[in-house]
């Protein structure tokens, strides 16, 4: 027995348990982000951090300011597709026109139009090994008006 009136092995176990629980409590205090739980089960500051990021996409209106002729054509073909869906995020290009957008290839078309059973049947799809293999898409299709030939 000791001054706590506990057998030695129980005293050791009590102290060890207190040490483990205390370590967890301290670790939890130190490792939990300060704003965790401010609004819900996540880090509250994450909202401000996300909101403060500079947008990468400029939006179709920004494209239309300089490329209204192309936008006009696109409304008749790929009317539901935003410019940046194919031309990539372009806020840098909007700020500085010398920075060009990505160059488009056949894969840009096939990303949506290669045959895939998961796509709706009404969606135009081609099997590349059968559909004019070796030729490029833009030889027969205008990208902004895909129903028209060049």
């Amino acid at each position: 027995m000791n001054r706590f009136g506990l057998p030695p092995q129980i005293l050791r176990l009590v102290l060890l348990t207190a040490l483990i629980v205390g370590t967890y409590a301290v670790a939890r205090t130190l490792l939990t982000p300060a704003t965790f739980g401010q609004y819900g089960h996540y880090r509250g500051a994450a909202l401000e951090e996300t909101a403060s990021r500079k947008p990468l996409f400029a939006g179709a209106k920004a494209c239309d300011e300089c490329h209204s002729d192309v936008s006009e054509k696109a409304t008749k073909g790929h009317k539901l597709i935003s410019c940046e869906s194919c031309h990539s995020a372009s806020s840098a290009h909007v700020r500085n026109p010398d920075i060009t957008t990505v160059k488009l290839t056949d894969n840009s078309c096939l990303r949506c139009h290669s045959s895939d059973p998961a796509r709706p049947a009404r969606h135009k799809q081609v099997t590349t090994i059968e559909h004019y293999p070796g030729d490029h898409c833009i030889e027969c299709h205008l990208p902004h008006q895909p129903n028209k030939s060049p």
């Binding site: 030695p8 092995q9 060890l16 483990i20 490792l31 939990t32 739980g37 045959s115 059973p117 998961a118």
Partner: protein, 435 residues
């Protein structure tokens, strides 16, 4: 006619694009995401729970015949428990993130709860029971072993060096209490694994209230089989005869546990077949097709029916079967059962991802050799607990040859403690328990 041609062309295109898919599968079902690591995870936790429950037969249910494997079963449970989270940590690919789950746990997260159940089971049950059981030996070894090894044992005593009969009796009573708490804890640890699968309502192969029960019984079966295997192997390595009474007792418990496990799983299948909901056709196809070898041949025939027959024979004709034959029957049955339970985990985890939720198609799973979720990693994870157990056995289960004569078994210890054998005089201290 044109529509038929379109369907034919469409099917040909599907076959060309997804050769591993049969019939119709949704796009997110073509790849099996829970791979061999998720198979091994419930297998290892099941072995832990089973080994612990077998050890509890000695402590709580006073099955004296199993005393020679009591400590071995606890050490086995510890070796496998240390490895239990590894498959998950490897699977998520960011093992350091497990800390976040523990620091800001959410009650709705099964993974967070697993962390606490695991910590509880490891520290409040298994390590505590081992410490109480070994405290006397730690004190003795701390005094007798030289150098670092002695210092290591002294450290493990945590400074509690009182080994008077009164103190040992208190250890014994606390140990029984911990084991009693440990049984529901072991059920919780492994029942939780079955719970994870059983609560996935979208998957008819998994979403089943019997799933935690099936997992627990298969865990008990695999844990006892593992103890039979390790006890036999350890005796062989130490050139010692196995205790036939102990093996007979383990064989008896193994047989009855396997019988209950088989009955519960058979009940599950009978219920599925009789209720015949919309998923039964695809499940029957799955069992007879993709899982034919792993389920019907491996799990059912090799892992269940043959061991049931062999172990049943030892129960019916035990007296007529020579001892050396019975030993081999137990060993061989244990190997088959361990393989069968591993295949059961495979069938649940992989099988549940092989059929489409459309109930109209299947995908294929091919296990890679190397890589994060390959054969080699899986094999390493299954071998690692045995390596850890080897170390634990060397440290904490000394060979009987190194022990004084007339070494008592664990079953004799409480009585010895109460009789006052091993008072503070080191010459009469309670000798260490031999295997």
């Amino acid at each position: 006619m044109e529509a038929d041609l379109n369907v034919l062309q469409w099917s040909a295109e599907v076959q060309a694009a997804l050769p591993h898919v049969e019939g119709y599968a949704y796009p997110n079902e073509t790849h099996v995401l829970w791979s061999v690591l998720i198979v091994i995870y419930p297998y290892i936790t099941g072995l832990v729970a089973g080994a612990f429950i077998m050890a509890s037969l000695v402590r709580v249910f006073n099955v004296r015949a199993l005393a020679p494997v009591y400590r071995l079963a606890l050490l086995t449970a510890l070796a496998f428990l240390i490895c239990a989270p590894l498959p998950l940590l490897l699977h998520i690919g960011h093992p350091e993130r497990c800390l976040q789950v523990m620091m800001t746990p959410h009650l709705s997260s099964p993974m967070a709860m697993f962390g606490f159940v695991y910590a509880w089971y490891m520290m409040a049950v298994l390590l505590l029971e081992l410490w109480l059981d070994y405290r006397h030996d730690f004190v003795v070894w701390g005094r007798t072993e030289p150098g670092l090894k002695g210092a290591f044992y002294r450290m493990l005593t945590l400074g509690a060096n009182d080994i008077s009969p009164k103190a040992l009796d208190l250890d014994e009573r606390m140990s029984v209490a911990v084991t009693i708490i440990g049984i529901p804890s072991a059920f919780l640890l492994h029942g939780y694994v079955g719970f994870i699968f059983g609560s996935i309502k979208a998957n008819p192969w998994w979403g089943n209230v019997l799933m935690p029960v099936i997992f627990i019984f298969s865990a008990i079966v695999s844990g006892i089989a593992l103890c039979v295997f390790i006890y036999t192997e350890l005796s062989w390595f130490r050139r010692k005869d196995t205790c036939d009474a102990c093996l007979d007792a383990m064989g008896k418990f193994l047989f009855f546990a396997l019988l209950v496990d088989f009955s519960v799983e058979a009940l599950d299948w009978l219920h599925r077949l009789y209720s015949a909901d919309e998923s039964i056709h695809v499940l029957k196809q799955l069992a007879a097709g993709k899982l034919f070898y792993t389920m019907l041949i491996g799990q059912l025939c090799l892992g269940t029916l043959i061991p049931l027959g062999l172990l049943g024979a030892t129960q019916l004709f035990g007296a007529q079967i020579p001892n050396f034959v019975r030993r081999r029957i137990y060993y061989f049955s244990a190997l088959l059962i361990m393989a069968g339970v591993l295949l059961m985990r495979w069938n649940v985890v992989i099988g549940g991802q092989l059929f489409s939720k459309s109930l109209r198609g299947f995908t294929t799973f091919k296990l890679e050799l190397a890589g994060q979720e390959g054969w080699l990693v899986g094999l390493g994870l299954l071998v690692l607990p045995f390596l850890i157990l080897t170390l634990l056995v060397r440290l904490f289960l000394p060979n009987e040859k190194d022990q004084p004569a007339n070494t008592p078994t664990i079953a004799q210890l409480p009585q010895l403690a109460r009789e006052g054998n091993g008072a503070d005089d080191p010459a009469h201290e309670r000798p260490s328990v031999a295997l």
